[in-house]
């Protein structure tokens, strides 16, 4: 990477501590149920658990057999059963069924439920209702934070997003605050906390209370500043197609808990391969933040270097060869393997993206972000729907249209919704209802955001059926918050300037130079100004709840002050992580991203479909 990175970036604290802490706690809890026992694990806890412990760890603590929670009768014959679950009503109900079935069969066992990261009162209420309270012991495993990499920590709580922002249930607020509290006691004390969003504010409050109740030992801070941000402050960024390598891999192959499964099309064999993607993978580490167009060049350069390194062995004598084999060969082989893997992955990405007319899709996205040729974007989306191309993709474009334009014209909304339901099924009525509730896909309310004159023009235009005239006027009639924010913060660079993606000049490079992610721009601005002063208009447009508070007095201008913990409540994308890494390099910061879960457009929208509950 060839940008003018500052050399004095501070060292990151060692996050692997969190893993050891979680593992030791789990072991402690398992020991609370002495003797042989079978362990039932909730399916979405398996990958996180795999990152901190393995089977032999569990076996050492007398776990006999492992099962996945499947909500059906169990086959275990052990007389002690331990359930490791998320605090969910349906899972607890299933456990009650298990216990009651045993009772009916006259079978006696000991049961233990370990809720992670915490228990909820509703779960206990279910146990009580079902008459098994007292028959089971309950514990909490405070496994809040899973480090996915040197600078990414995940709470692995994808449901945070839907529960908090759609249902308005604040059950995870305290969880987020406790996670922050843990980081504070391990790597704090923090000197400054900035934040924006309703949930951020509540999390801050809840955290502060916990700090007050606990005692903080005086120690040397390793993390100086914290930034809390709600996902609903910026829905635009996660709705955009990702084009930075790591984000692209996530969009296409879905990275789960820092691990990706490459199918046969990548491995060019009949089995698929699970691969850890993190900074330990030297090849990946160099391309993860690069715009996809640079990746090929990098990989071929790397291949040439590798060839040279291998070629060295020509003309070696036996002794030299021996040294070569023992010292270098293994590293080379490893690199060779990584290289062919990422080349194959890139190839597969290329093929997939070419097939789905990615170029046209990107063009539409960029037009929406810039706010021109909206009429053409709408007909592109319409055709997309008409052809029944990917249901999620169509929804993504509709939402992007709505959030950039501050809602759809009633006529467009009606027609696009009808066509969407025709193409993908009437049950998406529920999806639309959810999206409206969240403000992701709404009808423009005439008069609400428009001036009188503008709404008059808008009305005049609405009555016309001819599309062409509408096009000329509609940009006038729609003054959305995004447009205003975009102007205010300069989110969309002027399109007539050249943008060299090899030498990025700002965070816009993560979207091909077309858009600076709003979330990261806000963070940049606040850090630069050391607060919200001068950003009043921006916070008003975002609908506020911003804050900046000073806590412990920073003893000195230590490195810790340049280490910034950014906590995304409701999820963040790999593109945003890349953007922050870039910002860090430019300004001499190091960012540690804490997120409730890694998200992307598909996950965000899938959480809002109504096929569960």
């Amino acid at each position: 990477m060839a940008h003018s990175a500052r050399r004095d970036s501070p060292e990151l604290p060692d996050l692997s501590l969190l893993k050891r802490l979680a593992r030791d706690q789990l072991i402690y809890l398992l020991e609370q149920l002495p003797g042989k026992k079978d362990l039932f694990i909730e399916s979405d806890l398996m990958s996180p658990l795999d990152r901190i412990a393995n089977v032999s760890t569990l076996k050492q603590h007398e776990v006999d057999k492992l099962y996945k929670v499947e909500h059906k009768p169990i086959v275990s014959i052990s007389d002690q059963i331990c359930f490791l679950i998320r605090p969910r009503i349906q899972t607890v109900k299933w456990i009650c069924d298990v216990v009651n079935a045993d009772k009916a069969a006259g079978k006696f066992r000991r049961y233990k439920i370990i809720f992670t990261p915490q228990k909820f009162y509703v779960c206990e209420a279910v146990l009580e209702e079902q008459g098994v309270f007292g028959d089971v012991t309950i514990d909490e495993w405070a496994f809040y934070l899973l480090p996915l990499d040197e600078d990414i920590i995940s709470l692995e709580l994808p449901e945070f997003f839907r529960d908090n922002f759609l249902a308005g249930d604040q059950r995870w607020v305290r969880t987020a605050a406790s996670a922050l509290h843990l980081l504070h006691s391990l790597f704090g004390p923090f000197s400054k906390v900035y934040g924006i969003g309703r949930c951020s504010k509540m999390t801050y409050e809840s955290w502060r209370e916990q700090v007050e109740q606990g005692e903080q030992k005086a120690r040397h801070a390793e993390i100086g500043n914290v930034f809390l941000i709600d996902r609903d402050v910026d829905f635009i960024t996660p709705l955009c197609s990702q084009v930075v390598y790591e984000g692209l891999v996530d969009d296409i192959f879905r990275i789960k808990c820092g691990c990706v499964e490459f199918g046969p099309e990548v491995t060019s064999s009949d089995k698929s391969l699970k691969v850890m993607l993190n900074s330990q993978d030297k090849v990946f580490n160099e391309i993860r933040n690069e715009h996809f167009s640079n990746v090929f060049g990098f990989l071929s350069q790397k291949a040439r270097n590798l060839q040279t390194a291998y070629d060295k062995r020509r003309g070696m004598d036996i002794q030299q060869m021996k040294t070569f084999v023992s010292e270098e060969l293994k590293g080379l082989k490893q690199e060779h393997r990584l290289l062919s893997l990422h080349i194959s992955a890139s190839e597969s990405i290329m093929k997939k993206k070419t097939k789905q007319d990615f170029q046209e899709l990107l063009k539409t996205e960029h037009c929406l972000l810039e706010g021109f040729e909206i009429r053409e974007c709408i007909s592109f989306i319409e055709e997309h729907i008409n052809r029944q191309v990917s249901m999620i993709e169509s929804l993504r474009l509709l939402c992007l249209l709505s959030v950039t334009e501050n809602g759809l014209l009633p006529k467009d909304f009606k027609s696009l919704k009808a066509q969407y339901l025709q193409s993908y099924g009437a049950d998406h009525l529920l999806t639309f209802s959810n999206l409206r509730q969240l403000g992701l896909l709404v009808e423009q309310q005439p008069g609400e955001t428009l001036t009188v004159m503008e709404s008059k023009v808008g009305k005049l235009v609405n009555d016309r059926t001819a599309g062409k005239l509408t096009d000329a006027f509609s940009s006038l009639a729609k003054k959305s918050h995004f447009r205003a924010l975009s102007r205010k913060l300069n989110l969309v660079p002027k399109s007539d300037e050249e943008y060299d993606l090899r030498v990025p000049r700002d965070m816009a490079y993560i979207f091909s130079g077309a858009y600076v992610p709003l979330s990261c721009k806000i963070i940049e601005q606040v850090l630069e100004r050391d607060g919200w002063t001068g950003l009043e208009e921006v916070t008003r447009l975002i609908n506020g709840h911003e804050f900046a508070v000073t806590g412990a007095d920073p003893k000195s201008k230590s490195d810790a002050q340049r280490i910034i913990l950014v906590m995304f409540l409701g999820g963040c994308t790999f593109s945003e992580v890349s953007a922050l890494r870039f910002l860090g390099k430019e300004k001499g910061y190091k960012f540690i991203v804490v997120t409730t879960a890694i998200t992307n457009s598909s996950r965000l929208l899938e959480a809002l479909l109504d096929n569960n509950v």
Binding site: V122, Q170, E373
Partner: protein, 490 residues
Amino acid sequence: MMKSKADEEDYWNSSKYNAFTFDDADDELSALKETKKAVNSIGPLLAEDDEEDWERVSWSGEPVGSISWSVKEMAASNQRADKEPAFPKISTETPSLSKSQSGISLSSLFKGKPKGGNLQTFNDVLGDSSLRLYTPELRKPKSEYKDLVSDWSAEETVQRLQQGKGVTLEKFRSLQDKLLLLDLAVAAHDGNAITAVLIYLKRTLCKEVLFRELESRQTALRHFIHYLTESREQRLLLELLRALGRTEEAALLQYKDYKNIADENKRRDFLKSCLSLQFGGEDGNHVQDHYTLLERQIIIEAADRKAEREGKQEVFQKFPRKASILNMPLITTLYYCCFYHYNEPEGTFSSPLNVRQTFKISEKQYFTTALAARAKLKNWADVDAMFNSRNWLGFSKKKSPLSFQRVVDILQKNSAPTRVLQEYVGLVSDAELRIGLAQKHKCHDIVINTYRDMKDRQQLAEYRKKVERGSAEERKIDELLSNQQIRWKN
């Protein structure tokens, strides 16, 4: 400001975005292929033990010994026992693999370098595996807390709820006390505590009073609605929504229940019963359409299943139905009708025209779907007929509600032969776009003619290199290039 069309094209051709185009992927892809070949050809030294290393060293991501792996193993062995469908057994080459246990997982990934100062001591504490410092509560399971003291104040009670400690709520008996408790929980921003209080309120207050009080407490109300949703107390939830006058939500909630009805006739009847609900906006019409569609699908399905069984209609023999049409979206149904019932008179339920009429499908949508269906059948005559229109002089002219670029795309995705594609590529009005498509689909004549019309000698000469040597195309280019009559622009 609006930008002109030309501006826009410039925009996309400007170097700014050109750095990355998936459309001209061919060159990049072939470069990548080269690289790949190169990488693969490197180093015969490693040929021998490569394969095993994949599994053994750091890679498989799910090393033997990982928890996911082990659970799958367990499921597989259970499957043998009770024959219930479980995960597929993953292939395991166990013997040579046992070494890999610690290969990938855990701390080896993030080697902890203890740093100076306090952290060091912290590590030492951890090393002693005494976690008690951080989790003092863990020593006794929470369930064993006995609340002997029941005189906690409302504030203390909420605080204990927040900390997950045992509480007794029974002493809060007056409405005032109950509401105080609720408001305190809301003020603490703790959803867990809010729901806990709500569960108590639900048990000890009659619906009317509870609903009334919740109406002015939006945060608590949302928690209550979520709680009822999660614990599947549909009836109470409907009552609540109706009491609050949120009839549209109530209607959707009731409608949603159709998903739990598997039998198609019962489902249809249920949908019919939903028609009287008070939906918001256009939703009532959408539900009506849903009902009408299912009703029609049931009729079509019965008729077609019979026809298929009797084997009298050729199309069902040649293209057996892959799945039933029941519960498919409208457009899928239309596609199905265009596929199996294209030429039926408009009066039948399965006639595409009738479907179009009933559901007010737009011309463009209808065209798109019919085109895809007829192309799938490789019925090029039908495809051709779709574009024909005659003007007042009786000349036929190809017209399409869809851009010809899109038409080509649809045809190509249904593997239309070049001969067919060529015709429609030629109808793309924008010259640049036409050339691009023609090159992509190897319609040489169109490329050549377009360059000729553009008088672009250089491009034509360039293109000569791409056609087969000694082919008719090459001869045609040569003729053009030596034609003195053309005034080339370059």
